[in-house]
């Protein structure tokens, strides 16, 4: 964002360019990614259950196939809800970002390109996660209950493949975010202090 515009807020912003010390977006990201990946993992385990029954028997864990599908469903719903907040916090913090203009990331992108891809990608992923949740709900409450379905399998193979594809997008997307943090130093107190020539051991005391 244009630094003159950000200057309208100076006074309320700290050394990291935010009105608080720890950025919120990267913390909500833990929840979005953790919940989505574990939701997909449990649906995969549920679909492959006939092959791994013996593992749970060996471990002494009593389990029914439906248990895995419960985790797959509820974790996905939670991922959907929390991701609205993840994206909102991300946009707030990106609008206040002032990364250096004279460097490129490990992927050869400049700060503005990285932020645009990460911003647009975030909205795209939110749409995908919400779409997956609706699809998952339809499978749980409509598809799985239809008469023609002969098994107790609650999710479709295509859903699993779509989930794996989204995880790959998430990996690329997350790496862009990591580059904004650890290479461009966006909202990083130590990095900003170093760039303004301060000694960290005295200014962070």
């Amino acid at each position: 964002m244009n630094s003159e515009l950000i200057d309208q807020l100076t006074g309320s912003l700290g050394a990291n360019g935010l009105p608080y010390t720890i950025p919120i977006h990267p913390n909500l990201v833990h929840l979005t990614i953790g919940l989505f990946i574990i939701a997909m993992t449990f649906d995969i385990v549920g679909v492959l259950f006939p092959f791994q029954k013996w593992v749970f028997k060996f471990l002494g864990i009593t389990v029914e196939r439906d248990n895995f599908f419960d985790v797959g469903w509820y974790n996905m719903v939670a991922a959907s809800i929390i991701t609205f907040f993840t994206v909102t916090a991300g946009f707030y913090e990106m609008l206040l970002a002032t990364p250096p203009a004279d460097m490129k990331s490990a992927w050869g992108l400049q700060a503005m390109e990285t932020m645009l891809w990460h911003g647009v990608g975030g909205v795209f992923l939110l749409a995908l996660i919400v779409g997956m949740t609706i699809w998952r709900g339809w499978q749980r409450f409509v598809w799985a209950k239809q008469e023609y379905k002969q098994t107790d399998r609650e999710v479709q193979w295509l859903y699993l493949f779509a989930g794996i594809a989204i995880m790959l997008i998430m990996y690329v997307h997350g790496t862009l975010g990591a580059q904004l943090a650890a290479e461009f130093g966006v909202h990083n107190t130590a990095d900003n202090l170093l760039r303004s020539g301060q000694d960290l051991n005295t200014s962070l005391k």
């Binding site: 990291n16 010390t21 720890i22 950025p23 990267p26 913390n27 990201v29 833990h30 929840l31 990614i33 953790g34 919940l35 990946i37 574990i38 993992t41 449990f42 864990i61 009593t62 439906d66 248990n67 895995f68 419960d70 985790v71 509820y74 974790n75 939670a78 490990a106 997350g174 790496t175 990591a178 580059q179 943090a181 650890a182 290479e183 130093g185 909202h187 990083n188 107190t189 130590a190 990095d191 170093l194 760039r195 000694d199 960290l200 051991n201 962070l204 005391k205």
Partner: protein, 166 residues
Amino acid sequence: MLEYLTSLNDHNLPYPDTIHPIVVHFVIAMVVFGFFCDVVGYFTGKASLFEVGWWNMLVATIAIFVAIIFGQFEAGLAQPYSVAKSVLNLHTLIGWSLSGIITAITAWRYVIRSRNPQKVPIYYLGAGLILTLIVGVQVYLGDELVWVYGLHTVPVVEALKDGLLR
């Protein structure tokens, strides 16, 4: 190949980005959401939410050991400068303690579930609340290491390599 594994990049790592903050997704998200599901299950009596609580805790238990392995490795390469040292030490101490605490709580949960999967005692929810709070403190300390002290970020690693910071 061997050279790739032993030479360090501009994050002072033998691989592109830190892995510990990725693995902890599966501790933080699972503990927080598992606790949330247990509380909602307790008040609504919906037993399937107890299943979600238990399985999430099991994932968190496995994940924390992986998180500690990478955490220990990356802490060893972090070169914490003097003001960052005490925060890293405390983060390490709580991290190892959490592996014991999470394992004990999940083991307790295994027994509860084996006896009656339809019910969870209020004491277990108390333990879940304390665990969630400790995880919150631990996340805050980890956030400080990255976002305030900038460990493994390019500008800090550069300053350390140039001897501007120690």
